[in-house]
Assembly symmetry: C2
Amino acid sequence: MAKAAQNAVQGERCCEPVTSAALSEGDAIALADTFKALADPARLRLLSLVANASSGEACACDLVDPVGRSQPTVSHHLSMLVDAGFLSREKRGKWAWYRVVPERLEFLRSVLVS
Amino acid sequence: MAKAAQNAVQGERCCEPVTSAALSEGDAIALADTFKALADPARLRLLSLVANASSGEACACDLVDPVGRSQPTVSHHLSMLVDAGFLSREKRGKWAWYRVVPERLEFLRSVLVS
């Protein structure tokens, strides 16, 4: 897991709101990596599909068709979302199941307080 | 100005919260463009420097040294933040002055509601 994501999951946040203090270069690099995870249409759609799964979790096997990409591409994007801390993954049998990590969304919301 | 930014400034939002409905492909493309504007350390630092300017606005002339990039590079990044709707720009004499657009930060916060 990427360092920034680890920090977020552990509750250690890299950054104050961007409007409350000038970002250091190191914090800006960590935060830019977090935004990069959401700067792709396929990843945003995957995040919203997992978030809206009726049981609160989605199997990778059910995410390929709605996004219209190949399975390796979908797996790659899901891994990026896991690395950035937005999704958690649990392996069961041959498939992986994903859930949204609400704390990670809340972290980004806190950075964007105006 | 990019279409997504125009929409945000005009109060027409492209997207419901990602957790409340599966994003359409078009909305995901527009939203990914918005996140791309923040997916760069120099742009995040510029946004935080403008947000923390004591008078509420910052001259481009005062943003080059703190970011440690060339003036053309800083101008390019500032333009991207303006195009994405995060900064407004006012030309006075030979310099441009920038302010944060709080509504744009609030828009992104609304998309990330968990």
